[in-house]
Subunit: 492 residues, 2 copies
């Protein structure tokens, strides 16, 4: 009884995690009943086969081919269809050939054919490229070839068998494909797209919060709040192990027809490139995470000085990722992450200038290890963030995203924000005077409040290159960015 | 033509990579021919079924169930067998129930049964635990249940159908299982065991070479040699992505009967624990690797002083992993890695003492970043190595390895080695005077020459606790280990 309740609870959890699973279960049931009733209860069509073998093939095809996503269903269905066709043709040929050789040699010849074909096809299944795309097709190839060439019938009967097998596989396969495409479709491509966006958001969230956690971790009292925030931060861990999911989704996505915002030949491979960079970043973040609570024994005044550029590095990298995620979500080209990357690089430069200024000269080297490692990891992250936004840009152009979000050569000037604090602004190629980058001050920790660009009511003219950047860490420090845009500053 | 040659080349590569694949292809061919000839050409047994449907099920079972490893074949075979049995029974019951309701309602009732069962079973396939172990069984359950309950026969015919389906699945499945177990078996458990050992060796190799690479990288002239060594070092990258392989192998291994050195209930799960730690270590190594060629701009005399403990940390961690790998390979309990872990910890302590001594006081903080990060990563690695050997120890005791390799409370004293240099020795709980740890000096870089413990001719009495440790980096520095054995030194 307790066991049963547990199963029900597990079922509810699985269903709530992704309600499309429940829909999928219904779809399978419907497809099965439809296809079988087509064969069993049809008023038209002959019901000639004694064992209902045609219906069997059709039912079997539905059960085996109907997968969760459209891509997976198409991949299996096409594999099964084509393999059945090819193997059927070859097996008929083999049968014909063997029948020429006389009654005694025929079975031996057929067995040899089956042996050679099965062994060869089994071996070919080990080829990495075949395994990735045609594994199921090879299986069905062996199956159909063996079944048809070993069957002991006269040629016309075999033709019948081959034809009925092919037609039923087609009926079953096509039903699955149609139902999976037209009834609440689950697109692997869409899932991959969303997974990438959510991974970008997760890492962005960590980086935007990290500075605060690092410098304030010991100041908070309420354990529950801290715990909850920590758990929230550690969501990045899911990114560490997302590789196999991504690979599977990308593998299925390439089978899918154009759908929604995804056109023909959407660059799914490029998603894997971005995902790999995200994983690299997540590994650095994993290392960073272990330093959040490290006691870095550095005099409080030095700490205070380091805090601003330090926080900004992390925050701006996080924002760059957020912008990349928004660009992906809206499927629009964007260069608004450039600003954040430049900001993070300038912060990194400021930090390295600060460190060069001898601020740590009186600190014992050993006490610096944690701090310097953190700085070095953050530098890595700034660098990887740049690569990520580069790869997102490539993705955007390979997928022909629209241009709407791209600011036309933004120029930047100083502007006082409403909150009365000093914003920091970076003059870049000042040709046109009315495009500004304003860094608004706000202490809002909320994950979503940072996406001002995402919010059209606040950011009225994103096309004009006016980008409002909301930051929670700038304490009135004006940082001037040095001239070049793409400069890689971090050679410390 | 060029295409064909490429395929042949790929085939040769795939075959050479693992010749068991060729054997497997032959085994599948043989099983297929055997089973089908049993049905087609049998002198005994009735040949009653018109469409050769029994033979079809048998052939189909062979094609679908015969997998590369014994575990995978057993998992699929048992899943298929049990699912067919259960679904057959339920379907007969459903048929009986439906037939009570009269000719018109019967088909509707049957279709409802099929719909509900298929939808439920499809949903249950999403449960993580079901997906991991019984996914294929659920598929076959749906298939068999639908086939049998939808077939329009009288009860005795259905019994026939159910019986023949079950018996042919059994014949096909049992043939596959027997052939896969008794003809050149491929054990997933053995593969997992070997994979873990090879991963341990790979990381060990990196750590043993790292010190040399780090300090000598710029001194070598021959690009080819350097390249080759680099490639050799970077084999660790395979460890980063081995998770899915390990998970799959462990999943299959638990289906396998006792074989070779692996008894009943061998702790395959613990392999995954060790593997996860190895991956953690590999990620640190990945980070380390990026510092190998970093120019760490530190005066040569300071560098020289740091080199010894630095090298020793890395080398001794590497040796600890090597010992763990040997313990696994021989399937014997061992505590010889303790010595190396203590050595690496003492080296880490020495390094931190050196750093504390103010050796870096005149160096600009920024110039230290690369060095200190490397030190911090190495400290992490020393710590993870300790955890790895702990988990290998747990594995050894869970799997009831033999005791042979365990030295009985090793005590350690100073001993002059043949090469005339000073060995370094660590007195630990000196109760018994004649157990020694000698660190022999040698400049041999060879990967295998480090495993003196592995070589019985050199290490004649491993049971007595005399452990010869071969090192290529100790420059006559005697390091005394501070009293406690398990001390975690690295709080820098």
């Amino acid at each position: 009884m307790e066991k049963l309740r547990e199963i029900v609870r597990e079922g509810r959890r699985v269903g709530e995690e992704d309600p499309r699973r429940i829909v999928h279960a219904f779809k399978v049931g419907v497809a099965l009943v439809l296809v079988s009733s087509f064969y069993y209860y049809q008023p038209f069509g002959p019901f000639t086969d004694y064992f209902g073998i045609n219906a069997m093939w059709a039912v079997m095809t539905v059960v085996v081919v109907f997968e969760f996503s459209v891509g997976a269903t198409l991949s299996k269905g096409l594999n099964r269809g084509v393999a059945t066709l090819v193997a059927g043709g070859l097996a008929l040929g083999a049968h014909q050939l063997a029948s020429l050789s006389g009654r005694t040699i025929e079975p031996i010849l057929l067995a040899t054919f089956v042996f050679v074909t099965a062994a060869l096809a089994t071996f070919v299944r080990f080829f990495p490229r075949v395994k990735a795309t045609f594994d199921y097709g090879m299986l069905i190839f062996i199956l159909t070839f063996s079944l048809i060439s070993l069957s002991q019938f006269r040629d016309e009967e075999i033709l019948d068998l081959a034809e009925s097998r092919l037609s039923t596989v087609l009926v079953g396969g096509v039903s699955c494909i149609l139902i999976s495409i037209f009834v609440c479709p689950v697109w692997a491509g869409q899932d991959l797209h969303s997974l990438l966006i959510s991974n970008l958001d997760t890492l962005s969230h960590f980086l935007q919060e990290f500075g605060g956690e690092y410098f304030e971790a010991r100041e908070y009292g309420d354990i529950k709040v801290v715990e909850k925030r920590r758990r929230n931060l550690e969501r990045y861990k899911s990114v560490l192990n997302s590789k196999s999911d991504e690979d599977t989704l990308a593998n299925f996505a390439k089978w899918e027809p154009p759908h929604g915002k995804f056109g023909f030949r959407h660059p799914w491979k490029q998603y894997l490139v971005v995902a790999a960079l995200l994983r690299q970043c997540a590994h650095r973040i994993d290392a960073l995470n272990s330093y959040i609570n490290s006691d870095f024994q550095i005099p409080i005044d030095i700490k205070k000085k380091l805090e601003e550029p330090f926080r900004r590095m992390s925050l701006e990298s996080g924002k760059a990722l957020k912008e990349a995620s928004i660009s992906l979500k809206k499927m629009m080209k964007s260069s608004s992450y450039d600003i954040h990357i430049i900001n993070s690089q300038s912060a990194s430069k400021a930090l390295s200038t600060l460190l060069k200024s001898g601020i740590l000269n009186d600190v014992e080297p050993l006490r610096m290890v944690s701090l310097l490692t953190t700085v070095s990891l953050l530098n890595d992250i700034v660098h990887i963030t740049e690569k990520i936004s580069e790869s997102v840009r490539e993705l955007a152009s390979a997928a022909s995203f629209k241009n709407k979000m791209k600011p036309t050569e933004p120029t930047v000037s100083l502007k006082k924000s409403d909150s009365g604090s000093i914003g920091c602004a970076m003059p870049i190629n000042s040709r046109d005077g009315d495009h500004v980058v304003t860094i608004l001050l706000s202490d809002d920790d909320d994950d979503t409040s940072n996406n001002v660009v995402d919010d059209d009511t606040i950011n009225e003219k994103p096309e004009d290159g006016e980008i409002h950047v909301d930051t929670s860490c700038v304490h009135g420090v004006g940082m001037m960015l040095e001239h070049s845009l793409g400069v890689r500053i971090l050679q410390i």
